[in-house]
């Protein structure tokens, strides 16, 4: 009813214009603006850092061990004499890449399976959801450790493994969102016309559940980032000497009492990125009109 005149004259927008609309709505609130700024900053940094990193990230120099921050080494050096600033700005690259693709995999399989279960219902739905529940009850970190210790810690293993474990939550969200839509008459109408299940999913359900799934995917991304960094921390993520925040925290934490700089930079890097993603995902949800506060996280 609000702005009725506007609504009636509104022209249908292309998907690009719609996306720009959503982003501008997100940026109009302080929290959304900050979140977006942090996220954009991190992504730009991850892409461009190899070109302006001051030092070689793997150059070991015993004479420069654990130097405090100075004009030469802005964030100090670590226990092997490597420049912490260089390693910090490079440290998010692997994590961001792996979790980004992991999230997409999680979105795809989780979203599609959830929609499918919601649509067909009945016994198939029951069985699939009990399997998903069973997987949800397995501590993911143990399962991940098992997988990487058998298959190795390569990117080809990590991306699908993370994608699988973080997609389970999305299955439930997608299924619940589908259940909201499925009882509506336009689905019944499409069924009665004789559309195939695939066509119903694609044309009728997906446009109505897309927003909920995307928001959930964005949230999963930050969880996955934390998970991947935990793996690195335990030594199962990125292998040295590749710089990675989780690994850096793990290496430097023993020296925290006298070389705080070596551990604080990766911590700030990791937590700021996660906060950024969370704020962005929340603003994204609000811009799309989804209220996450009313739904318990799955």
């Amino acid at each position: 009813m609000e702005n009725s005149k506007n609504i009636f004259n509104e022209k249908p927008k292309g998907s690009l214009a719609k996306a720009l609309d959503v982003i501008s709505t997100m940026a109009s609130k302080p929290s959304g603006f900050i979140g977006l700024a942090i996220l954009v900053f991190h992504i730009t940094l991850a892409i461009t850092s190899p070109w302006f990193a001051p030092y070689d990230y793997k150059a070991i120099n015993p004479s420069l061990m654990l130097n405090a921050p100075s004009s030469e080494f802005w964030f100090g050096t670590d226990s092997l004499g490597r420049d912490v600033f260089t390693r910090t700005i490079l440290g998010g690259r692997t994590a961001l890449t792996i979790t980004f693709f992991g999230s997409i995999i999680a979105l795809l399989w989780g979203g599609l399976l959830g929609i499918f279960c919601g649509l067909v219902g009945g016994r198939i739905d029951d069985i699939v959801m009990r399997i998903v529940d069973a997987f949800l009850s397995i501590p993911w970190i143990l399962a991940m450790l098992l997988i990487v210790s058998i298959l190795g810690t390569t990117t080809e293993v990590l991306i699908p493994a993370l994608g699988f474990f973080y997609g389970k939550g999305i299955v439930r969200v997608a299924r619940a969102a589908t259940h909201d839509v499925i009882a509506k008459d336009f689905i019944v109408s499409a069924k009665a016309r004789g559309h195939s299940n695939l066509s119903i999913i694609w044309n009728e359900i997906l446009p109505n559940v897309r927003d909920a799934i995307l928001v959930e995917g964005a949230m999963r991304w930050s969880w996955m980032l934390l998970g991947f960094s935990s793996l690195s921390f335990l030594g199962f993520g990125v292998s040295p000497p590749t710089p990675d925040w989780g690994l850096m925290i793990s290496n430097a934490r023993g020296l925290m009492s006298f070389a705080w700089w070596a551990v604080i930079s990766p911590i700030v890097g990791l937590s700021s990125l996660i906060i950024g993603i969370n704020l962005t995902a929340d603003a994204f949800a609000k811009a799309l009109g989804i209220d996450r506060s009313t739904k318990a996280p799955v």
Binding site: N3, F186, A192, H195, N203, E204, N208
Partner: protein, 674 residues
């Protein structure tokens, strides 16, 4: 002259749009409620009637604010009181009865507890007195055995009983003013008539003033002394109920009354063109100018004032009301040519029964029939090409269930459905071929739910065209334009989303989608019950014209007997999933008829205070059809004995050609009912 209990002076309520523009919902409302009278507020959705009723208890919805005027209850301005002060008035002095009592009652608390809570908050009775009072209140709203009733949970009561409990709660504080917001809208016709009867008696016994908000002029006619007609946030007509309904001197009221289908008339009602302007879109002149048949140039420029005519005790907002007085007496009846039905069978339902009960795995394995008493049983209906057959009944009568099984959405348990004389329709949607699917299309009750909110009109209409005819590109586009033309909408609607359309426009799109498949049969499931009366008339008119043009067969499901009479050629009356009566519509509406048809017709509310509904049966709702005997045995006012309980009644053919399934001899029925 009775004293005024509430006076509303120049009240305006509005909201600020996103651009900071002030948009009015209510504009300069001035009226008053006298002690002991029942005032009806009538209007279509969006006319501001509920906002006005809420303002009467000092409540303005979140987001809205008062932009002027006051609302005086016993010379105290409710809109300037704080919450604490309002608490003393609400419930004690002014009480409200909500539209949907099922949702207004707390599901996990017993009825008795909820009424006691109302008593505790709004009266000073002691605990023992309160317990006494609960029974009294439940008695007052005519609920049987109050002691047992008080121990029940809301879900254990029927819709009518829940509404009665809500009335009891509202009466707990002995209010002086009772506000009722569409209290009978969600109820079945027979239940509605009973609840209205109760409200009328309460008003008489307690002397409480009532404000009755409704879109249903039939209900208003039964309970109200005075009527306020609202349009686009303004009062356009106000006066005694007889004057308003019999000599409507405002063109909107006149049109509204003409667009209501009535049992006494045959043929389709007149429809009003256009729709109510959106708030903020009201022009300079009269807000009804665009839709008015009596307007002149003055109406376009000047806003008419609410003028009081003392000889009629009526206030009217129209420049030309004096001309209307003479015109209202003319009755132009548009007769819809009721064609002689040619016997050319297109759909044949034979011994159809449908059950919602699922067979357990073991029973399935043993091939055991578990449900001997299915929801729908023994349905035999032949539908001829080009006719409109209506399935009528209250909720739970199985009318929508039958429709779903014709569409293939529900499997039949026994019997078969034959299409076009020889083709047997499979109960499984997946096994039907594309041609059969195309031939039968559905239109749903609520266009808000039946149109995908994320699709444009173009996308919505292209679905069936692509699926059945494989159209693409410019051919698709021109077909869509053609369809829009057919439902009297322009091609520029293509790029719009459902949320940008009004209720009537949405339903037209749904109609267009059904016709896109060029079907032989269209199944209409309560297609007009979610629409306003003036829009309903237009949609009925459209359906009728399309049928004349294309020769489509309609299976029309409705609970509204007047609508059914207007549109259908033949009527089948259902109770608890069993057929009671079937025949040409002009005969079904005449006696002799099945006792259930008699009850239904008796309960129809006509917008005329002199035609009272005949309440013959109790409004109890049975959850399950009886195992044996007549389906209507539980409520039948003419039950003759054990034969009704034990033996399935035989079909008898009346002299008009309608078939009645009853044990009472048709000649006896004729004598009893005349």
């Amino acid at each position: 002259m009775k004293t005024n209990i509430q006076e509303i002076k120049d009240l305006s309520v509005g909201f600020k749009s996103q651009k900071g523009k002030q948009i009015s919902i209510l504009r300069n409302i001035t009226t008053n409620i006298r002690k002991g009278e029942t005032v009806g507020i009538v209007g279509e959705s969006g006319s501001g009637k509920s906002t006005l009723a809420l303002a009467m208890m000092g409540y303005i919805k979140h987001g809205l604010f008062t932009t002027g005027g006051e609302c005086l209850f016993k010379s105290q301005n409710l809109l300037s009181l704080n919450n604490k002060e309002l608490e003393h008035i609400r419930g004690r002095k002014i009480a409200m009865i909500p539209q949907n009592a099922g949702q207004a009652l707390t599901p996990n608390l017993k009825i008795g507890y909820q009424i006691e809570e109302a008593l505790r908050l709004h009266t000073d009775y002691s605990k023992t007195e309160r317990e006494q009072k609960i029974s009294e209140l439940l008695n007052q709203v005519r609920l049987p055995s109050p002691k047992i009733m008080a121990l029940r949970y809301p879900h254990e009561l029927s819709g009518g009983q829940q509404q009665r409990v809500a009335v009891a709660m509202a009466l707990a504080g002995k209010p002086e003013l009772l506000l009722l917001d569409e209290p009978t809208t969600g109820l079945d016709v027979t239940t509605q008539a009973h609840v209205l009867e109760l409200l009328k008696d309460i008003a008489k016994d307690t002397g409480t003033s009532m404000v009755y908000v409704s879109h249903d002029l039939g209900a208003i006619a039964q309970v109200c002394d005075r009527v306020i007609v609202m349009y686009a946030g303004e009062i356009v007509l106000e006066g005694p109920v007889r004057k308003i309904l019999k000599e409507p001197i405002h063109p909107y009221t006149y049109g509204l009354l003409k667009s209501i289908p009535k049992l006494s008339l045959t043929g389709l009602p007149d429809s009003m063109p256009g729709s109510q302007p959106q708030p903020g879109n009201i022009g300079n002149g009269c807000s009804f100018y665009d839709r008015c048949n009596f307007s002149n140039d003055e109406c376009k420029i000047n806003v008419p004032k609410l003028e009081y005519l003392s000889e009629m005790d009526t206030s009217v907002r129209c420049f030309n009301h004096s001309e209307l007085i003479s015109k209202t007496s003319e009755q132009k009846i548009k007769n819809h040519s009721q064609k002689e039905i040619t016997i050319d069978e297109i759909l044949d339902l034979k011994d159809v029964s449908i059950s919602y009960a699922k067979q357990g795995i073991i029973d399935q394995f043993l091939n055991k029939v578990t449900d001997t008493n299915p929801t729908v049983k023994d349905i035999n209906i032949n539908i001829n090409k080009g006719e409109t057959i209506a399935l009528v009944g209250e909720s739970g009568s199985g009318k929508s269930t039958i429709l779903k099984s014709i569409a293939g959405l529900l499997k039949t348990k026994d019997g078969y459905i034959k299409f076009d004389k020889e083709k047997l329709l499979s109960g499984d949607l997946k096994k039907r071929n594309s041609e059969d699917l195309r031939s039968i299309q559905l239109i749903f009750q609520n266009p808000d739910e039946s149109l995908n909110p994320n699709h444009t009109v173009e996308q919505i209409l292209s679905q069936p065209l692509k699926l059945y005819f494989g159209l693409t590109g410019s051919k698709l586009k021109s077909s869509i334009a053609e369809l829009l033309e057919k439902v009297r909408l322009g091609a520029f609607y293509m790029s719009r989303y459902p949320r940008q359309l009004s209720g009537g426009e949405k339903q037209r799109i749904a109609v267009a989608r059904a016709f896109a498949a060029r079907p032989d049969i269209i199944l209409c499931d309560e297609v007009t019950s979610a629409l306003d009366v003036s829009v309903q008339a237009a949609v009925l008119d459209l359906l009728h014209k399309l049928k004349e043009e294309l020769g489509t067969t309609y299976v029309f499901v409705s609970h509204d007997l007047a609508v059914v009479k207007a549109i259908s050629d033949r009527v089948a009356v259902l109770y608890q999933g069993r057929l009671c009566e079937i025949g040409p519509s002009k005969d079904v509406y005449q006696f002799p008829s099945h006792p259930y048809t008699e009850v239904l017709i008796g309960a129809v509310l006509e917008p005329d205070p002199d035609i009272k509904p005949k309440l013959v049966a109790e409004d109890i709702v049975e959850e399950k059809p009886p195992e044996k005997g007549c389906s209507f045995q539980g409520r039948c006012p003419r039950i003759i004995g054990d034969i009704c309980r034990n033996k399935t009644p035989p079909w008898q053919i009346g002299d008009n050609g309608n078939a009645i399934r009853c044990h009472i001899d048709i000649e006896d029925l004729k004598i009893q009912q005349s």
